[in-house]
């Protein structure tokens, strides 16, 4: 039987903090919360939560500092919460190791989805990439067979270039989670390919045209403009 996952909520606005805690508790999670960033660091080391929801705009300590500190000794998933206009902050936080982000104001549905996804990926990573690893990814009509490198949409096979397949499989393995341009490029560069953001966009455009029925209204591959890309959650 699954044990309850524990979540630490670090948010200084009381009403929002209460809303997050209530939503999480009502969905079976064990919740700790604090409004202070300094307390957060202490709580993370003492309580060892399975996930941290962190407000980037904390008044007492720089949110990035917390991410940096945590990432120096743990892969614990971090979902950041930020106000609307701080695009730069989101990218920086994600590149520094945060797993995903939520923009205020957000609904409980979005919150729960992000939490579920982050916990799932953390669990997958912990269980390692052995024979237990996910072999097939399915979402709606999209199916990716990682062992045979085959991608099909509604039963029809789709021919992707090597780079395109790398991108798609990376997004699928992190389905539901946003991947920044930087992160995707890092994966691609490993294979000696000369890639920059523009090339990545061109690749994504080609992928969309091959996979999506209407590239302008995608159902599988979503763009967070200015930040990166996100694949729909798999089944």
């Amino acid at each position: 039987m699954e044990e309850k996952s524990s979540i630490l909520v670090v948010e200084d606005e009381r009403i929002i903090r209460n809303m997050i805690c209530t939503a999480l508790t009502n969905n079976g999670y064990q919740v700790y919360s604090t409004g202070s960033g300094l307390n957060a660091c202490a709580l993370i080391t003492s309580q060892r939560p399975d996930l941290v929801i962190l407000d980037i705009g904390l008044p007492d300590i720089d949110g990035f500092e917390i991410i940096r500190q945590v990432r120096s000794w743990s892969h614990l998933p971090i979902v950041i919460v930020s106000a609307r206009t701080h695009e730069r902050d989101k990218i920086e936080a994600l590149d520094m190791g945060a797993d995903d982000y939520l923009t205020k104001p957000f609904g409980t549905g979005e919150l729960l989805a992000r939490v579920r996804t982050a916990l799932r990926h953390a669990r997958n990573q912990r269980e390692g990439s052995g024979s237990d690893a996910v072999q097939i990814f399915r979402a709606g009509g999209l199916m990716i067979d990682f062992s045979r490198h085959i991608v099909t949409v509604d039963g029809n096979e789709v021919h992707l270039t090597q780079n395109e397949y790398k991108i798609v499989s990376l997004l699928a393995q992190n389905s539901g989670r946003v991947l920044t341009y930087e992160l995707i490029l890092k994966e691609l560069r490993g294979a000696k390919s000369k890639c920059d953001t523009q090339t990545l966009r061109v690749n994504m455009a080609n992928i969309r045209r091959k996979i999506e029925r209407n590239p302008a209204r995608p159902t599988y591959l979503f763009t967070e403009v200015g930040i990166g890309y996100r694949m729909i959650e798999g089944e």
Partner: protein, 350 residues
């Protein structure tokens, strides 16, 4: 002290060019007119004219004064023999004094005129801001009163309301709040670049990705509206502040639903030469023909007066924000009604 000096004696290369050109021209004209045999009378006149023009077209006093000094040398150079400068002849001090006074007077005059122009522009901007604040105050108050009314009702008479009615109250609270926060975001984005186009955060982005994101966000907000997006086969790139352009598109779509009462919207982007043409088409009731020519006046909006909750009077802010954002991108908004009903708003980005 230094600041004052800098204000009255500014240095810039454009003014140096003006100075050089005028002085050189004065010299050339004098030499050209030499054979006319006016006995050298034309020389001081030409140079005084040059000093006048220099002082009138440069900022501050520096260039005017420099011009009079150079002119003095010039007059001397031309009137005596070539390659010699003799200042002790009678009349030179007077000539120099005249030119110097001319330059000071003209510089003062132009400085004052520029100052007044700046004051006028500032006053106009203040007036626009005041109008905007008035409009905002009104537009924000209306949904807030609705929210307060609904919450009061729920708190005081909640148990007497049926569950459906309660839900309805809560939904309208949520809808009004969502509208409010979008208005606030609109206003915050205006302040971001009010200082001029320089503050825009332009990035390269794919037009279709932008449209896809806006379409999805809009669909979430208005699930009952059919949203279609059309993009070209070729990847079309634009350079713009994506957050602001998304806001423009969202505002236009929201207007189509709230004011045009449309239930189907089509977003499209297509290449237009080296630029991209964005269009927002709806199947609503179109734009009131009477309003059409005034739609894009700066910060103007209609207060219908009677209907406090018909959002007709809020048409202004959404569009004003779109106009301001597009203007900062060197673009403008175009609107027309379709023959088959509904309206099309369009703009071009590079």
């Amino acid at each position: 002290m230094i600041a004052k000096l800098k204000q009255y004696f500014p240095c810039c290369w454009q003014d140096t060019v003006v100075l050089t050109i005028l002085m050189a021209s004065a010299l050339d004209i004098c030499l050209l007119l030499q054979p006319l045999g006016t006995n050298g009378l034309h020389v001081p006149l030409v140079f005084v004219l040059a000093v006048l023009i220099t002082a009138g077209h440069t900022t501050g006093y520096l260039y005017g004064i420099l011009a009079s000094v150079i002119a003095m040398f010039g007059v001397n150079f031309v009137l005596t023999s070539y390659f010699s400068l003799r200042f002790w002849l009678a009349g030179y001090p007077l000539t120099f004094l005249t030119m110097f006074s001319v330059s000071i007077v003209t510089s003062t005059f132009t400085t004052k005129t520029r100052e007044q122009e700046r004051i006028r522009i500032d006053a106009e901007r203040e007036k626009m801001r005041a109008n905007l604040l008035r409009g905002i105050g009104h537009d924000l108050r209306t949904p807030l009163t609705s929210i307060i009314a609904a919450t009061n009702l729920l708190l005081e008479d909640g148990n007497r309301l049926g569950e459906d009615e309660q839900r309805e109250m809560l939904c309208s609270i949520r809808d009004e709040s969502e509208w409010l926060i979008r208005m606030v975001e609109n206003l915050l984005s205006i302040t971001r670049f009010d200082g001029g186009a320089a503050k825009l955060k332009r990035v390269d982005a794919a037009a279709e990705e932008l449209m896809g994101e806006v379409a999805m966000k809009f669909q979430k907000r208005f699930p009952e509206v059919r949203v279609d997006a059309v993009s070209p086969n070729e990847l079309l790139m634009i350079s713009a502040d994506v957050v602001l352009i998304e806001q423009v598109l969202f505002n236009l779509m929201e207007n189509a639903v709230l004011h045009g009462h449309a239930d189907a919207i089509t977003l499209s982007v297509e290449p237009d030469g080296k630029k991209a043409l964005f269009q927002v088409e709806d199947n609503g009731c179109g734009i009131d023909e009477a309003l059409l020519p005034h739609l894009f006046e700066d910060y103007v909006y209609q207060i219908t007066g009677e209907s406090s909750h018909d959002m007709k009077q809020n048409l202004g802010i959404g569009l004003s924000v779109c106009m301001a954002i597009l203007k900062a991108h060197n673009s403008t908004l175009r609107a027309r009604n379709k023959t088959e009903g509904g309206a099309v708003f369009s703009f071009i980005l590079s």
